[in-house]
């Protein structure tokens, strides 16, 4: 029995604290990613307190004013201050990306672990349903959910969170299940089973703690993609409604003015790309610390 532990292939799952103890120097991506993310978070939380104008206040300067001391990033066609809009957008963007990813990883992770542990027909059905949902392209699936709810009812932040969570849930679920399949053969799970513990308790107390590393990286990868999906939906006119300062929507609103006032597009574009870059750097570094490869499929 004991040698099954020793000969087992290199442990795919390493706890965060153990991982941090192993590396002497933190990867630069983790350091830079953390710094950038902290800045984004600070702006998101405190932004509304110090932003020069409200996001929907029109006529803060001349329409299409170039960046100047009054409007740091210039203004759009209604004279709205782009700096303020981008600052207000940070909170919205982070809220939607993090909540949707958290819902997907918690629900998907739990379902996946449970499915891998229980096995049998429950596993079979769950995985088949997940696979069918995965076989619809992300954007098309999001579009279908929005159409099922009705275009008229769409446009709320919560619906968007639900859409993104639903799109990711089967993907995180399948990933968590593959981890569970690997974990259920371990001795401590067998021991827990022999002790007669319930499935819930084993998933919660044995599998989950050992899968946190994987789930964290999964969270990072998904969180890094969530703003892209949310932004794309906003860009296509399927996300939140104007005058909400969602960055993807801002890019789509101002695209026609790209020639006359490039800052109206560049400001939200840089903010959005910067957020995704910070999230990806953070995840990349985290994965290195945990000794895992980041798979982006």
């Amino acid at each position: 029995m004991t040698d099954s532990v020793i000969t087992h292939k290199p442990i795919a799952v390493v706890g965060l604290s153990r991982g941090l103890g192993r590396v002497r120097r933190l990867p630069w991506t983790l350091v830079l990613g953390s710094i950038l993310l902290t800045i984004y978070l600070l702006v998101a939380i405190t932004g509304p307190l110090w932003a020069p104008y409200r996001y929907d206040r029109v006529g803060t300067g001349k329409p299409f004013a170039a960046p100047n001391t009054n409007n740091l990033l210039g203004t759009d066609q209604m004279g709205r201050d782009l700096f303020s809009r981008v600052v207000y957008g940070a909170g919205l963007e982070l809220f939607m990306a993090l909540t949707s990813t958290a819902v997907a990883v918690i629900l998907g992770g739990f379902l996946g672990l449970l499915s891998g542990f229980i096995g049998g027909w429950f596993d079979e059905i769950t995985m088949r349903v997940f696979e069918i949902l995965i076989s619809i392209p992300v954007l098309v699936l999001a579009l279908l959910v929005i159409m099922a709810v009705g275009l008229e009812a769409s446009g709320s932040e919560l619906l968007l969170v639900g859409v993104v969570a639903l799109v990711y849930l089967p993907r995180t679920g399948r990933m968590a299940r593959s981890v569970a399949i690997d974990l259920v053969t371990r001795d401590y799970v067998m021991v827990a089973r022999a002790r007669g513990e319930s499935a819930w308790s084993i998933v919660w107390r044995e599998l989950l703690p050992n899968a946190t590393g994987v789930l964290l990286v999964e969270f990072g990868v998904r969180a890094g993609y969530a703003p892209i999906l949310i932004g794309s939906l906003g860009f296509l006119g399927l996300g939140v409604r104007p005058p909400t300062p969602e960055w993807g929507l801002m890019i789509s609103e101002n695209r026609a003015n790209l020639v006359a006032a490039p800052w109206t597009v560049l400001a939200p574009a840089l903010a959005l790309s910067g957020l995704v870059i910070s999230l990806n750097m953070f995840t990349d570094g985290l994965a290195r610390v945990l000794g895992r490869q980041v798979k982006r499929v």
């Binding site: 069918i132 619809i136 098309v140 279908l144 959910v145 159409m147 695209r255 790209l258 597009v265 790309s273």
Partner: protein, 317 residues
């Protein structure tokens, strides 16, 4: 033959998936049946008008019956009539599908040499400044959403340099060369979006091969480095990268929706989104189903290739 058995089950499962996906698509779009009449007739339609419309279109019957009819039509290549233009959906979709296919093919042809060259450079100079630079670049590349990348490229090459058109009116192209020139920006956008993954994957694979014994042997024998990479290492590193390429092919069909919209390219992605806002249910269903079907087939292709390239499965009886 275990391979044949595995392949057969994969193909069968793909068909089942396609069937299930068609049901999801139809349900999602037609779950609000009263809504379709209201959507098409506008807000001033009376109840009688709506009822008449539903009766004419057969929308008053149970959804499962309508799904059955739709599906049997689809299997025969008939997606019904567009609610907006009254044309058969096939006539609306086919020209757009051809455009999208051309764009995807173009992007794919750009993507292959681009990924191989940059991936190899990164692996050969691993841990060096070229590698660090390229790794950072690809990390940034995969962080920039396609619609942002497309918009930025349109700004730089279309607006500032005025070298390429920002709106791709492909049907206006008079020659093949002109068409290629017109499609350059969306094609490059898609190629970059795919290449960032492939470069990283190829780099990792190639490093593994470059550190194997037979490559070391070749280097010690005095084979020039470019030959070691081109003749000895690359062919073996490309095999696993084929899987990424097949997955990229699957990605391409999804990514194309947004990129087409950026450049107002008259393809299936633009048609899909426009039809959503026109509430043209049959066209949306057709586009969604076609996009999903290509996606499923591309994923199946990736799967099959992985199986065929796996020697353990090949040699087993």
């Amino acid at each position: 033959m275990i391979v044949v058995k595995v392949l057969f089950s994969r193909v069968l499962w793909a068909l089942v998936t396609l069937f299930a996906v068609s049901f999801i698509i139809f349900t999602a779009i037609e779950i609000l049946p009263g809504d379709i009449a209201a959507r098409v007739l506008g807000r001033y339609a009376t109840e009688e008008m709506k009822a008449e419309f539903r009766r004419m279109r057969g929308l008053d019957r149970p959804m499962l019956v309508r799904y059955g009819e739709w599906l049997s039509g689809v299997v025969q290549g008939d997606f019904g009539d567009s609610l907006v233009s009254e044309f058969n959906v096939g006539e609306v979709v086919l020209p757009k599908l051809r455009n999208t296919f051309l764009l995807a093919l173009y992007a794919f042809i750009l993507y292959i040499p681009f990924s191989i060259i940059l991936g190899s450079l990164s692996a050969v100079f691993r841990e060096g400044s070229v590698d660090t630079f390229l790794s950072t670049l690809t990390l940034i590349g995969l962080s920039i959403p396609e619609f942002v990348m497309g918009t930025l490229l349109a700004f730089i090459f279309g607006v500032v340099l005025m070298a390429f058109p920002v709106v791709v009116a492909i049907n206006m192209a008079r020659s093949f060369g002109e068409a290629l020139h017109m499609m350059a920006l969306p094609a490059v956008t898609l190629a970059i979006a795919m290449a960032v993954y492939a470069i990283r994957m190829l780099r990792d694979n190639l490093i593994e091969v470059l550190e194997s014994d037979y490559v070391r042997m070749a280097i010690l024998k005095g084979v020039p480095m470019y030959q070691v990479v081109l003749r000895h290492a690359l062919p073996n590193a490309l095999v696993p990268a084929l899987n990424v390429t097949a997955l990229n092919l699957a990605y391409l069909i999804g990514g194309v929706v947004v990129v087409e919209k950026v450049f107002a390219f008259p393809g299936i992605g633009t048609l899909l989104i426009d039809s959503v806002f026109l509430r043209d249910a049959p066209v949306v269903e057709a586009c969604a189903l076609i996009v999903s079907a290509v996606y499923i087939v591309a994923n199946l292709f990736a799967d099959v290739m992985t199986i065929l390239l796996n020697p353990r499965l090949r040699t087993a009886k």
